[in-house]
Symmetry: C2
Subunit: 146 residues, 2 copies
């Protein structure tokens, strides 16, 4: 039940771009160095985001990336959904329907997973890049520890 490096790196890259968005296009090399992430690996993650309007690209000399939307209009849920493929905690809950299991009609545990999926979904789509920069989401304040 872990978020992979793909999702975490994508998020760190976008937060980095949000923090430096006054500087125009930023080269991947710069981001990779600032974040301590393999540039080559980031190169593989970027296209996933690039299929949407989250990123703007300039190729060639002095090219790079910048955010295609305001940080307040980009949610963590959207980014993770793209990079992780799916945010649902079990395979039998997919977009728009129940799949993959002939027991689902009468599965007593299915409501657990739907409930879990909902709290995860609701939370992640409530946090924007702007919240992260401001450290200001309502969920961030508490001193909760496992």
């Amino acid at each position: 039940m872990k978020i992979s490096t793909k999702g975490r790196y994508a998020l760190r890259m976008l937060v980095d771009l949000a923090e430096h968005r006054s500087e125009g296009y930023t080269a991947l090399k710069t981001i990779a160095e600032r974040q301590g992430i393999s540039k080559k690996y980031l190169e593989q993650i970027v296209p996933i985001l690039n299929r949407t309007d989250i990123l703007l690209t300039n190729r060639g000399f002095q090219g790079g990336y910048q955010l295609g939307r305001e940080p307040s209009e980009i949610t963590v849920g959207e980014v993770l959904r793209l990079t992780e493929g799916s945010l649902s905690p079990v395979a039998c809950i997919g977009p728009n329907e129940i799949v993959n299991c002939d027991r689902s009609v009468d599965c007593p545990t299915l409501p657990i997973w739907k409930g879990l999926d909902k709290v995860i979904h609701d939370y992640l789509y409530s946090v924007t890049l702007q919240d992260i920069i401001d450290q200001s989401n309502e969920h961030f304040a508490d001193d909760y520890m496992i």
Copy 2:
């Protein structure tokens, strides 16, 4: 970001035991057949739960397992915590402290993960086996769909 079969099978086994708890000790063979799960694989999962007081065991002829506590006293969170190892969505959040990353002191994304960890934790520890049998947790009712 998926719950593995270990956690899901453990939960199904315990729900099965909860539903049949008037019948005393139940053999793993019976549970495996009812649930359509490999008995041999379940054999590997059981010891994890058996280290706690969640299960009572009888070995030998006509032996088996039964719940060691009331279904209302066993939470989904507890079961998944045992079988999945950790419920935290990132490695840098562990029990009681932050580990594994020298960037954590100034990591802007850490509050996201702490917030996510909290909503997952709060939810999973709010659902008991009894809730599952009754289909009666507050989160179960909604018609939420991705």
